[in-house]
Symmetry: D3
Subunit: 284 residues, 6 copies
């Protein structure tokens, strides 16, 4: 039961690909003939935006016969979505629907694989994703990482508090900033205070200042393991997250360090899922 993209997005995707109709189908004179379209997985895939792909086809005039929900993981060879309608409706929606499915499912599948892998090593860990999705695609990207079993780290600048060194540069440095954490916590009573550390030393100081979460940027797993133990001892209530360059290859190693969360961007980009499409004529 993930959220649905708004109609204006569905319309925008179609208009982007077909602002003035489908010239090829028009010239062929086949538009009114009835047919069927099937989308089938070619590899293990965690689906996302099947609902939106279906709405693309419907807006183009087709009737959706079947669809699997976003969040479903299928093996190769499984029918994901099928619809029937005029050739002009099927050709109008084909690639827009496919593209949406493949990019969104690509993100969902990458997320799902990392979540699975990491949970085996550390079942209590949480996978969250950054705000570094392709500009203009956040509604697809967030739905996709949710379909894959992750949650957003932060949706943007307006609803969460994350202090970088680029902030503390204006505060007179990290140390002076840390003196204000208690006051900041009393102001932002409904957000957690998260501060990024670039070294073990910084992390210990940040945690000692009473933040909610200390986020370790680009520490290597081994160094991080040691640090996690020290942080647990010195600042037991503080949550620890690891961020910076975490991906499918190294996620398990990071999970083994004992951090509470992994913060990822890597799932947002990479090869779209490979989904086969067949279009068949229903003419006698």
């Amino acid at each position: 039961m993930l959220y649905q993209l708004p109609d204006s997005d569905i319309e925008r995707f179609i208009q982007e690909d077909m602002p003035y109709g489908d010239l090829t189908t028009l010239l062929l004179g086949i538009g009114a003939l009835q047919g069927k379209i099937n989308f089938t997985s070619r590899e293990q895939t965690t689906l996302c935006c099947t609902e939106e792909a279906a709405r693309v086809l419907e807006r183009c005039g087709a009737s959706v016969d079947f669809l699997l929900q976003s969040g479903t993981t299928v093996d190769a060879g499984v029918t994901i979505l099928s619809a029937s309608g005029s050739a002009s409706s099927l050709h109008a929606g084909w690639k827009v629907a496919l593209n949406l499915l493949e990019y969104a499912s690509g993100i969902a599948t990458r997320t799902h694989k990392i979540v699975n892998k990491v949970k085996k090593v550390n079942p209590a860990i949480t996978i969250v994703t950054t705000r570094k999705s392709f500009p203009g695609t956040k509604k697809i990207a967030i739905k996709a990482i949710m379909a894959g079993g992750a949650l957003p780290h932060r949706l943007g600048l307006s609803e969460s508090v994350l202090v970088f060194k680029q902030h503390t540069a204006f505060c007179g440095g990290l140390e002076r900033f840390l003196q204000t954490v208690t006051e900041m916590k009393s102001k932002a009573t409904e957000q957690k205070i998260i501060v990024e550390a670039e070294s073990a030393e910084e992390a210990l100081a940040i945690a000692a200042a009473g933040v909610d979460v200390v986020q370790l940027d680009k520490l290597q797993p081994e160094a991080l393991s040691l640090l996690v133990q020290q942080l647990h001892k010195e600042s037991p209530g503080v949550k620890i997250s690891a961020a910076g360059g975490i991906n499918a290859e190294n996620a398990s190693a990071y999970a083994e360090t004992g951090v509470d969360m992994l913060v990822l961007s890597a799932v947002y980009f990479g090869k779209p899922s490979d989904i086969a499409v067949s279009i068949t004529s229903l003419q006698p």
Copy 2:
């Protein structure tokens, strides 16, 4: 001199990340302090959307001091863009500008590398890219492939003619479709007629029917080489393009086959460029 994205896109990217301001900067009380932001390449990069990144920063209230144009290729360590302004303007625009730069330059850099590689093998070849960009990102994606030295294969369904087997299925098969090519050419006098073939046999029949371009889908380079020779002999005026799974690894092999064009989707996805950002305070 590539095209600029419309203002509404710039605004949308900012709103997507910061609908109600930057909570962290507000809580820190540093918004009014003056600072400087610098974007620097960390690897060889073909830049794209520096103009738009600059406009993001300007809309957030900063003044742009320097920028390199989209289409420029830089080595690691080069300043790409710099701006100055209040901490609130710099923090508001930082990641939106960075994200735009990194995703667009990622596409431009991948394109540029393939174009360079392929032109060494076959200087007359053309690299064109499909309409399979991330839904909703076509204005960024097309600017980026142009910045990298490619051109769009087709922008969408409305302005070009490309016949797939999913079309001929409604025409009674390929053969019956080919009987109508002459008539189709007389109707679509300002577009080239491109037809996709999935085998050498199909390709020869399609070319013989008098189309402008025959597009070979997923043929292996070796088979393609032989076919190109045969097509040149049998249908000398017909252009030949190769499509389907062409990427940085196999592009040169495809270029050596003697085809006139490579049709790519692979440049649209992959790791964003790695660009470093420094934000410094100008306070005494």
Copy 3:
């Protein structure tokens, strides 16, 4: 099976006419009474945007009972579209639907008449229309010329190549530009290269340079006839189009010259079709 305008356009047309409801119907207190609306041709008309007119009425709350498809040509006195619903739904949609029908069908009818006339003289000729439609109306205008049997000459600047003297002015003149045509063709492998000529002399030089289409601007039919023969002899593969001031009066004369295409703007403007509307009360 022409394309449908997006929902946001339908909504925009209604909002443009009725941002805060229908004051007259409200004051009369008749809104809830049931009625019927009929749209009937008053002259021979090639219909366009009946589907969109129907959607206007549906968005206003009426139920569409009958409609003829865009592209249909009807004589005077034929019912085009009918719907039933509350007086408030019928009055809300009446003029918006009518206006859309009349302007779009006006373009379609003018196009259809020229296409018919010209095809009698030269059955192989193609009628294409320029990008000079009323600003902001391209989706209606292109649907309408397609409904009338024409195709777009070019949809805009992004997908086609058409060189004017306003371009060659920056290339050092026509002659110098023509030296680069071969290179341009090898870059733009999927578009035809069209170059406009303003005299017979220019046309011959342009054709000799190997472009795909030479477009003759504002030549008189007699001079054009001679030129076409010469071009066919000297540059047999090059297509010839005539543009500039072609309209219902002179289109046949231009068609007789033997050119391959006529490029028109005249169909975009002129009197809207005349369509009668009756609204009847279904009250006892």
Copy 4:
């Protein structure tokens, strides 16, 4: 000092014509060269949307050097607008700016001519225009009729009261409606009550009922003349307007009938103004 169209319209007009840049200029490699564009009248023209045409050029990157205000009437051969900038900015804005100027000035010129003609016959008469402009173009159309010296009859359904027989059909007929006019007037205290009549008889009854304006639809000028005298005698305070098929040819005849207003749609359509454009290179 007419109103300016919103930025989103300017952007929409440009995007409609050039969603992904100007392919021809890009392929020619001339984009960075400096040039100048001049728009010059080819006939007597009442200008409209010069401001918006200038903003189109500015958004495309050019600098506007000169412009005449909307509402100015010029003879043939007068410079209307000029700008300078890169070839890519001039080619990007050229036809969008021209098209806007030509369509808007076409409406303004037709309006201005009718206003001039009619005022000679009847200096006290008012020219107002209906809501039957091309769907989606009302902001251009209303600016244009104002530039030509007319005012809108009604902007839409929400702000004015105009009763047609299509309304009275739901009221039990005209007579029964007329019994409610007094009550309607007391409710709509800030709008004038306008009722359309299709015959002299209806007009007299409507006027007698105390409406503010009686609008005569499609009466011939002779019959109208007689009716106006009778109405002036019987219902001296009631204003009289003539509507339905009034155009440049018959407007003077209608003006001579002594009506207070002419209600026109004819100015909205017809040939765009003819405006010459020169683009010159500023290269040495």
Copy 5:
């Protein structure tokens, strides 16, 4: 039968509250469970935007079972709207629908109460509301005042004529402006000419100049009573409206003065209606 808000507004309200789904419901894992939502009045309420609240719920995936029309006045304890669907659909739409209902019904209820109160004192009086609604909410606000029995005074600057001293300041003062009223009336034949007066003296001069309506700003009821009598005697055809600070407390006193209209802004703001919501699970 009041007008309906456009789909884009419904979508905007939902997106404003729930851009990326409902995190709480997602985390609870209850989204797919079926339930029911009921909206019930807690006080006497004149309803507005029940139709739009229903559309909010439908867009979120629920089915509307029952709704009372906008404009209905209910006592406390009455069911206004009910719907059923998945927990995720009900939670997604709950507060957006409620908020819309409460703010719109608040305006409608305040309007309705003043209209009722004032009509008892002066049945012939008209209540109209200014354009001072919350920026961006005019479509809700105008629907709501209509639901409460008022009409808009003017929708905006484009369709009505209202002269303030801020205008006459540019005319050389009120007196000089009044000399031009006759000419203005002959130009604006379809609008009433309304002029604001700030004193009895001004009002008498304005009325004498032949305007349609004189609007008295911020006069006290007693002074206004005397003035109304004098105006009726001296300028019998001129309508009189009272504006400036009129609200629920003083409206009756203003109505007793004998003015034709009261012009209000006060209904636009104030406490939203109090509407109870219950959500119940339909799980066994």
Copy 6:
């Protein structure tokens, strides 16, 4: 340094009031005359949206001479904003700018007064505001509460976790939900878990389950005082917020109870600030 509303909002506010220009100013023929506009406080006001009001005036063609920043509190009689330009620019922007200023400053002023009052009683308390602002106005409303010294409680459903009984109804009741709190906390590692209680008993159980914040709905201050003490003793780490019907009258009483936060909706509605406007002619 609060955030600025996007340009599209500024344009929307202007278009809402003046879709086709200012008819009154046009008819008066005063548009080109130069003048000055001044906005002055009439009471103590905490300003908001002065920047946006200035941008409204600029978009209408005026030049802003002076403005006080959002968040400034002024006494009566202070100039807030002034601009100069043509009469048409000043009249176009006047009421749109004023309306924006008055509604936004109304919210900011109410917020500021409550914050001030409450901080005297309990300096450590935080004032946060709900998502119950007027539909479609959130960008104004959130800026205004920030200008007044509050922060948003939650921006919407997507970024925060707040469990109501309407949720627990689907979980098998509060008790069963509380058994899952630990698991929920481990999933939503970057959000605080907030649960609403409707009685002291519920509050104690909720706090004992380990949530971050227990939110007390509609408890009276006296009962709340006792409860706070008990909660502090039993669940010392849990934050306590009070919500439901808190307003300017009772906020201090609630603050005295010792809760950590007050959650308010009351500041969003009420009388707009009273700001005087003068427009003066600069004509000799």
